[in-house]
């Protein structure tokens, strides 16, 4: 009697055949849903050791203008991709690293231009 009680009270009860597989499948599915949900909160930020927000703003503006100058004309279609690519290359050339971070981001991380609308708007404004 005591033996059977001890068996049933153990923290990891014996499972039916296939039950362990089903449970681990459920855990994996839950982990995947959680990861997908949390992953949506992560955004790209630019980081550079010792940089300030003012310095990043200035570098970002200069890089937009530099990138825009290589593709004159309307900022639409493939031009957006080309300008965006050059903008990122320019910032990387100034020592910034672009990485995904969860909000709120770590100190010293700055949000650059990540959308077509922002790029078009920034490209026409002077520093």
């Amino acid at each position: 009697m005591l033996d059977s009680y001890r068996r049933s009270a153990r923290p990891f009860p014996r499972l039916y055949p296939g039950e362990a597989m089903r449970r681990s499948g459920r855990v994996l599915l839950l982990a995947a849903i959680l990861a997908a949900a949390l992953g949506g909160c992560a955004r790209y930020y630019w980081m550079k050791a010792g940089s300030t927000a003012e310095q990043f703003d200035r570098d970002s503006r200069e890089c937009v203008l530099e990138a825009k100058s290589t593709v004159p004309g309307p900022v639409s279609g493939l031009a957006v991709d080309v300008i965006d690519q050059r903008y990122r290359t320019c910032l990387a050339g100034r020592g910034y690293v672009r990485e995904k971070q969860f909000d709120p981001p770590a100190a010293g991380s700055y949000r650059g231009i990540e959308s077509e609308e922002e790029l078009a708007a920034s490209a026409v404004s002077k520093p």
Binding site: T70, P72, G77, L78, A79, Q85, R86
Partner: protein
């Protein structure tokens, strides 16, 4: 299983396959005799594209938009070399005694036609349907060969778009690149002046 494999293989064959390299054949380069008189001009072409170089002129993408293949000029001909040949002919048509800057011309040039390929690209935007897009931006300038003084400059931009494509095949890349290149050469022909603006 066998039927599934067959469907996949047929789809890849008909779809042109997003993997591998597509080669685009451009029409023969323009040719023009050297005029007897005119300013001595050297054509110099630099390819300053950041994400492409040499013969590569575009990307192929899979259904998720990832780059999975390349579009290149046939015979591994570099875009800069090819554009140089056409600019050589254009300059001669305009009346310049033009030659390529490399190898060094027999007579020292008076003017350099400095050309910078900033962008030349064919790419696909993946959505409900595929949109093929193309863009070329070339900076062209005339520089005094002796003093390096800029004499004239212009920026030529041409672009193209082919929306609502369901399956991209090799002929789509051929058409997009050929059309983009033809319009670029045409725009350069219109831009390059017939006399040196001094």
């Amino acid at each position: 299983m066998g039927r599934l494999l067959l469907v996949v293989m047929v789809s890849l064959a008909v779809g042109g396959c997003a993997l591998g390299t597509n080669h685009v054949v451009l029409p023969a380069a323009l040719t023009q005799e050297m005029p007897a008189t005119g300013d001595l001009l050297a054509v110099r072409v630099k390819d300053s594209r950041t994400d492409l170089s040499g013969a590569q002129v575009g990307f192929k993408r899979n259904g998720w938009g990832a780059k999975t293949g390349s579009v290149e000029l046939a015979n591994n001909e570099s875009l800069a070399h090819r554009l140089g040949l056409d600019l050589l002919a254009i300059s001669r048509v305009k009346g310049f005694r033009a030659s390529m800057s490399e190898p060094a011309p027999l007579e020292p040039a008076e003017v350099i036609l400095d050309t910078d390929i900033s962008t030349f690209l064919v790419d696909a935007k993946i959505g409900w349907t595929i949109t093929l897009e193309s863009l070329a931006v070339v900076k062209v300038a005339m520089v005094d060969a002796r003093t390096r003084q800029p004499l004239w400059s212009d920026v030529v931009r041409v672009d193209g778009r082919k929306p609502d494509v369901y399956v991209v095949v090799a002929s789509d890349y051929q058409q997009m690149v050929e059309d983009l290149y033809a319009r670029l050469v045409s725009a350069l022909r219109a831009a390059v002046p017939a006399v040196v603006p001094r």
